[in-house]
Subunit: 351 residues, 2 copies
């Protein structure tokens, strides 16, 4: 048992990993301290979004984010000879920006449920959830700017560029979902994933290599590493969004199919040129709400057209491409092993 | 006549002032360059919001913001011996943050019209307008972070703190509008204005004093100067929102009264303890839509209860308090005169 003052452990869905455990130990006290700067009213919304407390303001047990991005920042730092203390502000900044993006995306997409509970806009209303997202962005830049080191300005420009790319990527996604006439190519879909989810994990990884003593040029390798992994994790998430166990994903059964989301497995299935693809295409062209049985039919068609197989193979290709980029770099062996384990754990979430 | 490539003059409502003219000459090329980083789709929304183009993407003539905040940054810099080139990124950052705040506030408040044309969410939909706001925040931090000088980290922390305070202030405003049971005190209303609009003009002014050679300690004086002026300008805007000419304000007649906004003149009128106050209070307690005649009646009651008189006197008090803070500082006389003129022009917008 912990008291409210002690760092609260935030167990996630089956992620027992030393890198994640370190992020869960180091991040919450810093995040709590920053959120306190928002005052009790706006701070309560941000603490809820960050999983630091429940909707009643009580310390949360198990509703937090998985802290995967800061875990990558910490592990990439350790792998290249940095200390956790040096990169902790960057790890916090990435997690704050990630949550700002989630809170705003949930408003835009009308998603009502995340991490097994109502999304912030459902709980606090759209206007205040929107503001809480802005406040999280502010906290992200503030925590990164306060250690006034020579490299701070470059790190800030990097974080701002990442926020800009996230916005461009999400805007592409919004337009993508709206295009009912035109067939989306698989490459376009992957490029969109790269912009939307690759950008932030790329930032998380290269931020981990922005410490004193990091060899110059490594930031690019870790950026590419994170980008490939970000796309791989998103594809696995897309698979879980269709075939995942709701008790693991925290989303209602079949919600992605019901919303006719053009996630990566669906786009691949639609473009596979099989009879099932043509059948699936007719279901996606209609705007009629789907019954539970119809959700089952559509899910089976995506599988039959090869959507699941392609997606998991593409995730594997991305993971391999990520590791190719770090090939030959003299990384710390223990930290490298932790990175491999975390990557494997995250891409193995196939149920 | 200008070509599309040349800096487009953006004439505002009756603001012919050398400081504003300088901002209008220097800012648009930099803003255009930054907005281009967003690509054509998201960039078009941001260019529309910034008044750089119309809804069809054509260069705008006369729909731009008044660039008052960057004008203050440039004038405060000139008054303290800085150059426009040194503080231009800061002036741009303040204008970008201001527009991010406007685009998000318009979504939250459901406002449909700004600067004589539809607000961005009306034109482009809520999701994409929300993202455009995030993108403007990103551009603001990016433009400020790129000159990698020793003072950059401090300036970034300052901008992030301002964004945080803007969010807290706007959240206070949202809760304020929701409180139908409790009477709002005039002091609370002024504190809320200080958080919401004072914070950004304070930032604009102290950013102007963040140049090489600015005497230490002056930033605080200019911060207070900007905060007082921000409150004064907001009060004058509130007066215009009730009694202003729609052809000047760009808002429909009586829209603030129709929305029962608890702006400063209304709060003062409600708390004045006059018979008109009691009468006004009954109108504000009802949720029934107001007819045009009733809007006229309520407007007259606000005036009768002393709301307009109090507001304009408070604006004058704030302007005097602002100048008191700069009293005795050896400012550049020409720049000081320009600051006085601009302040007078802005607080004289009483029709």
């Amino acid at each position: 048992m912990t008291t409210a003052e002690a760092p609260t452990p935030l167990p996630g869905p089956g992620l027992a990993h030393p890198g994640v455990a370190q992020a869960r130990q180091l991040l919450p006290p810093l995040l709590r301290d920053r959120v306190a700067r928002l005052g009790s009213e706006l701070g309560a919304i941000c603490a809820y979004q960050l999983g630091l407390c429940d909707a009643q303001g009580e310390p949360a047990q198990g509703h937090g984010g998985k802290l995967i991005r800061p875990a990558f920042t910490l592990l990439c730092s350790a792998a290249t000879g940095g200390s956790a203390a040096e990169v902790l502000p960057a790890a916090a900044a990435v997690e704050l920006l990630h949550n700002a993006s989630l809170i705003h995306d949930d408003i835009m997409d009308g998603d009502r449920s995340r991490r097994h509970r109502p999304t912030a806009w459902v709980r606090f209303g759209v206007p205040r959830a929107l503001l809480a997202g802005d406040a999280l962005i502010a906290l992200g830049f503030e925590v990164l700017a306060e250690p006034r080191q020579p490299a701070t300005a470059a790190a800030i420009a990097d974080l701002a560029g990442t926020l800009r790319r996230l916005a461009i990527g999400q805007d592409g996604d919004l337009r993508f979902e709206r295009e009912t006439e035109r067939e989306i190519a698989v490459d376009e879909c992957l490029a969109m994933l790269g912009g939307k989810t690759g950008a932030l994990l790329g930032c998380a990884c290269r931020m981990g290599v922005r410490h004193a003593g990091a060899p110059p040029g490594w930031a690019d390798a870790f950026d590419g590493f994170g980008r490939h992994l970000g796309v791989a994790f998103q594809i696995v998430d897309d698979v879980l969004g269709i075939w995942g166990d709701p008790s693991v994903t925290g989303k209602p059964v079949g919600s992605d199919v019901r919303a006719r989301k053009k996630s990566a497995p669906v786009v691949a299935a639609l473009r596979a040129g099989t009879p099932a693809s043509a059948h699936l295409s007719r279901w996606y062209a209609s705007a009629e709400p789907l019954t539970d049985d119809q959700v089952g039919t559509v899910t089976a068609l995506i599988e039959e057209a090869g959507g699941r197989y392609w997606a998991l193979a593409e995730a594997d290709r991305r993971v391999a491409a990520a590791w190719d980029l770090l090939d030959g770099l003299p990384l710390d062996p223990a930290a490298r092993r932790d990175l491999v384990d975390l990557t494997t754990t995250l891409t193995a979430r196939r149920h």
